[in-house]
Subunit: 370 residues, 2 copies
């Protein structure tokens, strides 16, 4: 259980510790004779350098810290793949830590990562307050993924959530939908841009937006749908804040005897592996996740090497992936009294105020800026 040190190797090879150090770092100014002798001794002893001692002595690090907000979400796994690819290419190692979506735990994870004095940090969709990030940014370069920031020493990599939401709305509108609700991501990172994009796109089409409060989980998606049904406020199409939420929404719709996409169309967001499962086959918005990782690592390493001081703000273009959960609306259904809604219970009369939201605006457009 005790590892040999440089001293041991030096002794065995009959040279100084400094010479062993030079060999280990591949210095060119070592004679071939000594080099092979040292390498041989190291091999025999099973020596491998102590990264921490090295880093301490050299005051540099070849480690990049990665904070993953939620290990359960495959989204991040693909970003990490991209990071790992670039880091490895450039001789850096990564260490990962997770915050489990809890600010307290995330803070601790951050502390822990920081205590290793990595060369830089990549935070994937962090939930800690901006001030905590700003503070850490004083100590080392930081790149944020899937979260924006205005701190000038912090680089960011995001998808253009507004564009993504617009793509989804455009798709649904082109299918003939006019009543499209958005199940909102609430406090979640990137929920804002998606919501704004949805609202803007609806208004651009002269439609009335309907934002329904929800969260980034399948339970929340199901809950939101049950709420809409109870309020007799179900539209013909749903844009969920992410894929999980969409899958929950689909389940709730099916539980209520509605078919997707015949009765209601559903669009997710993220194009997780979940969406691609043939059994799910969810129409969704794809983000170039591995590219996120690569760009983040590149940006970070530029800072590490002090090649750049200007902040970088990557905003990547999302794209629409059409699968099997969207179709033209069954236009006649609503006017003839929807098969389900009318049977949902007679006590929903009081919610008429919300129902009014769904009436498509007439051609007089209401677009704000475009």
């Amino acid at each position: 259980m005790v590892r040999p040190t440089m001293e041991d190797v030096a002794l065995r090879a009959g040279v100084s510790r400094a010479l062993v150090s030079l060999v280990m770092r591949g210095s060119p100014k070592v004679s071939e004779m000594r080099r092979t002798a040292v390498l041989k001794a190291a091999e025999e002893l099973g020596y491998s350098p102590h990264a921490m001692a090295r880093s301490l002595a050299s005051r540099t690090s070849t480690v990049l810290g990665v904070m993953v907000s939620d290990l359960h979400n495959a989204f991040f796994a693909e970003v990490v793949d991209g990071i790992d690819e670039v880091a490895r290419d450039q001789g850096f190692d990564i260490i990962i830590n997770t915050g489990g979506r809890s600010p307290a735990r995330e803070r601790r994870a951050l502390e822990s990562l920081l205590s290793f004095r990595p060369a830089g940090l990549i935070l994937l969709s962090p939930v800690v307050p901006a001030t905590a990030i700003g503070k850490a940014a004083e100590q080392l370069p930081i790149v944020l993924v899937a979260r924006s920031s205005r701190v000038s020493t912090v680089d960011t990599v995001n998808d253009d959530g507004e564009t993504g939401a617009r793509l989804a709305v455009d798709h649904l509108v082109s299918l003939g939908h006019t009543r499209i609700a958005h199940l909102d991501g609430g406090e979640g990172t990137q929920a804002g841009p998606r919501r704004r994009g949805y609202v803007a796109a609806m208004e651009a089409h002269g439609l009335v937006p309907q934002v329904v409060s929800s969260e980034y989980t399948d339970a929340a998606g199901a809950r939101a749908i049950r709420g809409l049904i109870a309020d007799d406020a179900l539209p013909t199409a749903i844009l969920s804040c992410n894929d999980f939420n969409a899958v929950g929404a689909i389940s709730a719709l099916e539980d209520a005897g509605l078919r997707v996409p015949q009765d209601v169309s559903v669009v997710g967001y993220d194009n997780t592996s979940l969406a691609a499962l043939r059994h799910v086959s969810l129409t969704t918005i794809d983000q170039p996740r591995a590219e996120f990782g690569r760009l983040a690592a590149d940006a970070l390493l530029q800072r590490v090497r002090e090649e750049r001081t200007e902040p970088v703000r990557h905003l990547l273009n999302p794209s629409l992936v059409v699968r099997s959960t969207t179709a033209p609306p069954a236009t006649s259904r609503r006017s003839s009294g929807s098969l389900f809604l009318s049977t949902a219970g007679g006590d929903s009369a009081g919610s008429g105020g919300r129902t009014a939201d769904f009436k498509a605006k007439s051609p007089e457009r209401r677009s704000r800026d475009q």
Copy 2:
């Protein structure tokens, strides 16, 4: 970009470096006055201890390394949750690294983790050769999760795959199924026990096992089903090697116009969050994943504290989770010519040899040991 050291804190608080060290480590033999003074100075400077220097000086580490073979699989995320819980409780931090299912990359991840000289290592379903693990085990305590080992210095935590597979078979048999195929996990870790358990359970029931070569992915599950259909060899029930595989199998069945569970029952394995999605609602075998993590961390910390030298081999009991993908077989269907199989193509006569496998054995049991 330059972090304060203990020296800086000591200077500011008007005490010695050693005293700061004591405060940082929470020593009880520090007067309240000095303690608050030091804490205040540290706070003002934004000081936090340098983990590497600490570890170097103390020749101990409060870090546990965790190697996750596949970040894309939520199974591991839940194990990590369990590890993290115990580790945190006992004052240890964890750093994670991933091997991406590739032996080469995993080896590098292992090297990287080792270079931090952590107190111990937990490997989640590693794919590196046993010799590599044995070598690492000479340097620090190692616990394997979801992979067995015979090395006496290595602890292991596994589920009892044989029991799990038996639970699934028993469930299907109790529903009335006699023709049950197993989509095999091939080289994957833990595929062996599951296969053995399946075969033993089938034989215990006097049934003929049918092992179909497959893999731990949904594409492989779909492929296997298409193969069975093409061979006119589709049974009334499927036991998949894991949930992903099962979901792929279900998709392929549905694509072929078969209903689950009315026409074919499907059982998964792992009870991932995927299986729990209402839209999927997969009958499956649950493994206590967080418990895996907790036990692994406990075992590791015992070794770290040198409380134990005997190897520990945890074998946890899986349990059956019945959801919506299993039901009694439509017994009459086969004899009257199955609605799908008979129309699949008249050219399948040649595969009769395999079809024979499905005939249920008569009551004369064939059980080996029980």
